[in-house]
Point group: C2
DNA sequence: TTGTAGGCGTTATCAC
DNA sequence: GTGATAACGCCTACAA
């Protein structure tokens, strides 16, 4: 028998016997569900503490059909935004006694599919995941799961259920317009090669549209590496910038990390930022706030996103009659922050 | 009835009926547990896919007494080290079909206690958590839980069960010795005020011992803020350095973040790093690698730590006869990386 | 206020 | 190779 037997995991029955009552009374006492005399309850709670009894929630859930789980999928934990969002979400969800079941997809739709399936086995009461494209099967599983599905960050073209996010395309377009307004013309866009990453695609589109709307050429597209793009990727591009285009006056990067990398490389080679070349990023990462010059960026607010998501989940699970009327699309605002890396001396 | 009824969540019984067999056969087919004819199995698996049946693992666990969970607690997700460690651990654990149940303590022992209790309700098969002091009750709960307890990162004075980590004190001592070797004498130590954070205390001790061993004074202790210490905290100290001590020639910081902050502030005020003042940090964070100058630091390897932890967990759960002989203390090596911020011109 | 009976969805066990 | 039955530990529903 390869199975580890917990010889004497104390059970509710044990507590009941020690207290001289039935399991039900213990169960009630533990859940502060009115109908227990104060005396009995106190006695029971005393014994519970003494025995360090910890109820088995799996058994409870099986009975109540409420797992107490909210499944959450992010592309990566190793990313301040996702980490912060998850922390915020967790705090709010935990305050109601529920727990987060967390997974990271590594930016892979297939891994996402596997994770969705394995999480669904835990019968979460809701699932929140980043929209970034899903496999057919993922979508089918989510739809059949009978639970609220929340897609986060980017706003999907065809949402499965609820949505909390913003338009990457719009944000990118706004930033590009800002750069144009600042006087840049030969703006390049730096992003990943991997098209599976639809977020990158949205941002690219925003750039392209802004450029075209201003009568500028959007052909300076530099693509390298796979998401998430790193400082190193940016550095490489910076060091070899001439081999891409030699008339660039500004580089808008799909994230702050490569933006920092590009900037460092250019500076090492004597290129002045922002005077010779402007640099902009996306995400408001620490490294762009504290670099010199600091890097202009699109600011997302992961805490806000986490709060909005939490509120939405709790509303949906509240059992309220009004659930049917919960708004399906929730928009979190973005803002553009212009910093030193694009503070061009007027020319 | 406030409870959401999943009207028709398909169950194993449904699959069984559709396949014209009993639940047990479905159960067996699903778990590739030998005794099912190939014909039957294929038929069943076909139906399972068709119906998009997802087994209820809570029910399964109740029966097998194996939850398939490994509980993991870290102080914060918003920290590259912990995030990376968790990702590594997750990947290894997932490959065996188990899942990570993750929580963050926000560096609070009380929050840790609450989390441990709520996780224990899920009957995890093992629990891995950062050692950083525990409440009495936490320790009691962990001991009674009957599952392997792994304390990570720092090595506790009195381990509860297994240990994977390093000695913060030793690492800090080594770095301080290195700084002395580089010619610094009036070395200050910058850390948090909050003593609950034993890691900070260990690092402080290492510094003190190295200084005293070299016949130097360890009185230049700057304490500010609560963990985790931020760039901002460091920046504040840098800006007001004269109000602390005016003869400092080197500042060893409890982490790279404040190290970066101190350095930025000093540089803004015309202090040359490393020539006037050397700066060292702890943790090998990105910001210290890419600052200029780059910041000398103690390098920890979260991936290694995650791997070691995963292997240990899997060994312990393997049901192998040799479990009794598994080593209890696992050490992950640290290294000192000397960078620009302490490359003093010989004097 | 408390207790009894039965079931949640799965698997262990033993019989066929 | 397959099925019937009895758990797993808790909670719902109803009875007292």
């Amino acid at each position: 028998m390869s199975r580890r037997d917990k010889p004497n995991m104390t059970t509710m029955e044990d507590v009941a016997q020690a207290a001289g009552v039935s399991r039900m009374t213990v169960s009630r006492a533990l859940r502060e569900e009115g109908a227990v005399s104060t005396r009995t309850r106190e006695k029971i709670l005393g014994i519970v503490r003494e025995m360090n009894y910890v109820p088995d929630q799996m058994a409870g859930s099986l009975s109540t059909k409420r797992s107490g789980f909210v499944a959450t999928l992010v592309p990566s934990l190793n990313n301040v935004h996702y980490a912060e969002m998850v922390q915020t979400l967790t705090q709010h969800i935990e305050s109601t006694g529920m727990q987060i079941l967390l997974g990271h997809t590594d930016y892979s739709m297939n891994r996402e599919e596997r994770l969705v399936e394995s999480m669904l086995k835990r019968r979460p009461e809701a699932i929140a995941l980043q929209y970034d494209g899903h496999t057919k099967r993922t979508i089918k599983l989510l739809k059949q799961s009978q639970i609220p599905v929340l897609e986060l960050w980017d706003i999907p073209p065809k949402p499965i259920g609820y949505t909390v996010g913003f338009s990457n395309e719009l944000a990118s377009r706004n930033m590009t317009e800002k750069l144009i307004e600042l006087g840049y013309k030969n703006i390049a866009f730096l992003c990943e090669t991997n098209d599976e990453w639809t977020r990158g695609a949205s941002r690219r589109n925003g750039y392209r549209k802004a450029m075209e709307a201003a009568g500028l050429s959007a052909h300076r597209m530099i693509r390298i590496g796979t998401p998430p793009m790193s400082i190193k990727d940016g550095y490489f591009v910076g060091k070899n910038i001439k081999q891409y285009y030699d008339d660039i006056d500004c580089i808008f990067c799909v994230s702050d990390s490569p933006a920092f990398g590009v900037m460092s490389a250019l500076q090492e080679d004597g290129v002045k930022v922002p005077d010779d070349v402007g640099i902009a990023g996306f995400g408001n990462f620490e490294i762009g706030r504290f670099s010199s010059p600091s890097i202009s960026t699109v600011v997302v607010d992961p805490v806000k996103l986490g709060q909005t998501t939490a509120k939405l989940v709790l509303d949906l699970l509240s059992g309220d009659k009004a659930v049917g009327k919960v708004k399906r699309k929730h928009v979190v605002e973005l803002s553009i922050e212009v910093r030193g890396s694009t503070q061009r001396k007027s020319d």
